[in-house]
Amino acid sequence: MGNDSLKDIAIKELLLHLADDDFIHSYRGAEWLGLAPHIEEDVASSSIAQDTMGHAAIYYKLLEEIGVGNADQLAHDRPAKERRNAIILEVVNGPGYYMKDPEYDWAFAVVRNYFYTQAKAIKLQSLHTSSYEPLAEVAQKVQMELYYHLMHWKMWFVQLLGSGHEEAVSRMKAAIEKTLQDFAGVFSLGQYGEEMVELGLIEGEADLQKKWIEAVSPIFESVGLATTFEIRMAKGDGRNGKHTEDLEKALETLSEVYASDKAASW
């Protein structure tokens, strides 16, 4: 891709952010299948994981259309260092493996889901007016499904924090702290961020983050939480290919069958 213009690169990078974010986020959601706090919630949140995987597929398809690679190959056959997802989304649901001793933390699931979905909604809003039309079009469509996702996770967030149950509240607070530690990675636009903004592909990181704070502040206030946010990127910037062992392990699982025969039709 040596001949790509800066614009091509910026478009490709942005699409990879979006695709990889949803792909790994959906995986973390899918790991919860069968393990959610109650059966009805298991069914409901599975739809969200499906929708999110569907969104990843849409973005990978856009990448396929501009010749970056086949969608399934992009999803399954790129090593961690080529992935562009934010690090907070790759963090494990808790100790253990989804098939053995999964000591998963519902508080972390709720907080990460709520924070990410809200950030995703804000990004999509911004993408409505993206100068890259195929993306602007897709953003309108994807946004449709976010109403449910957002309302779903916001409800859990508010109810658990508002429950007055000591353990619930302290777990939620710990999860908020843990998530914010690395949440700046979600807003990061990576090394081509400036070009993306200049080209009118998306708003800048600071704007996105500010809108996110504006969106979650009233919710924080409603459950008596302070709205002074320290949003950091402690583990580094996934947009630039920095990742953790959590992602490596996840990719091993996600591509186990695919990698057994990349040429085969499955």
Partner: protein, 318 residues
């Protein structure tokens, strides 16, 4: 004298009840029903429900591993449906359990204690993507045979749940076929995945329908369920139906069935087959199958880990 009157009143109620189900009427949750009927339904439906939930676990293992985006989506939707079937069925069972003051928590505890059993197939290991496909194709196929057989069940809430379930099972049947078809038309290794899976699962599939009669495992609920018009066919009739629908399809794809004696006897219009090891049903019922303990442990861990969520949001007693 009073006792006698009571007995007569009970007998009258029972006669009316039998007349109702024989006329094809549906019994509703609040209707009077004989204890025996309630007990039979509770056993059957809570086991059916918890099996759906436990059955989601072996397949769930393959959700992230599914080899394409579309397959990941398909199997996620399928596992979701199975959890949904569990939801529908447990609601039906929970309403039946009201007189005993038992709720979902109690059903989970019964599961953990080993009092509430789940179907033999879900004690098995799903080792390969071929197994994931085979579960969707043939385990669901077997389940569809037995579930459609109860669509006319005399208990209304169960019949309505089954109607929803069977409608979704059509998707499951095709989802399973799609995975298998891709493997069957694929490389040699892919083709082999399916054959290995057929070999591994065949006996379990036969066991799934239950013993032909009491003598194989010492007890059988089939007579009561037929008497009460919960289902129409016997275990053996269902197994025969499974052969009739699936043997030709398996063979048509060029696969073999690990039973050299299997054949359709035209004269008696029945399938002749090698009897499975019926004793295994008892082993699974004791939760001593290949993965019984692992599956239970997954469910137990998630139940314990989420205890605080259920506590935090439990309605307050005013």
């Amino acid at each position: 004298m009073n006792v006698l009157l009571n007995d007569m009143a009970e007998q009258e109620k029972l006669n009316q009840f039998i007349a109702r189900i024989e006329a094809g009427e549906k019994i509703e949750a609040d209707d009077w029903m004989p204890e025996d009927y309630r007990g039979t339904l509770i056993k059957l439906i809570s086991m059916h429900g918890i099996s759906e939930i436990m059955g989601a676990l072996p397949e769930k293992e393959w959700v992230p591993k599914a080899p394409t985006l579309n397959r990941k989506l398909g199997i996620m939707a399928k596992v979701q449906d199975e959890m949904g079937h569990g939801q529908l069925l447990l609601r039906v069972a929970e309403d039946l359990l009201k007189p005993y003051n038992k709720k979902r928590d109690d059903l989970m505890q019964d599961l953990f204690k080993g009092d509430l059993k789940f179907h033999n197939v879900f004690h098995m290991e799903a080792k390969t993507w071929g197994d994931a496909g085979l579960i969707g194709w043939l385990v669901d196929g077997a389940a569809i045979i037995s579930q459609t057989n109860m669509l006319g069940a005399s208990y209304g809430p169960y019949a309505r749940a089954l109607l929803r379930i069977c409608a979704e099972e059509v998707f499951h049947a095709q989802h399973g076929e799609a995975i298998i078809m891709a493997l069957a038309e694929g490389t040699e290794e892919q083709r082999k995945l399916v054959q290995d899976s057929i070999n591994y699962w065949w006996e379990s599939l036969l066991l799934f329908f239950g013993p032909p009669s009491k003598k194989e495992v010492g007890s059988s609920k089939q007579d009561v369920t037929i008497k009460y018009r919960i289902r129409t066919s016997t275990n053996e009739e269902l197994r025969q139906a499974f052969f009739s629908k699936y043997v030709k399809r398996i063979l048509s794809l060029g696969y073999t069935i690990p039973d050299e004696t299997l054949r359709f006897d035209k004269e008696s219009e029945t399938w002749i087959y090698q009897q499975p090891d019926w004793g295994k049903l008892k082993v699974y019922a004791r939760n001593e199958g290949p993965l019984s303990q692992e599956r239970l442990s997954l469910r137990r861990i998630s139940y314990e880990n989420n205890k605080w969520v259920r506590e935090a949001l439990a309605p307050k007693v005013i």
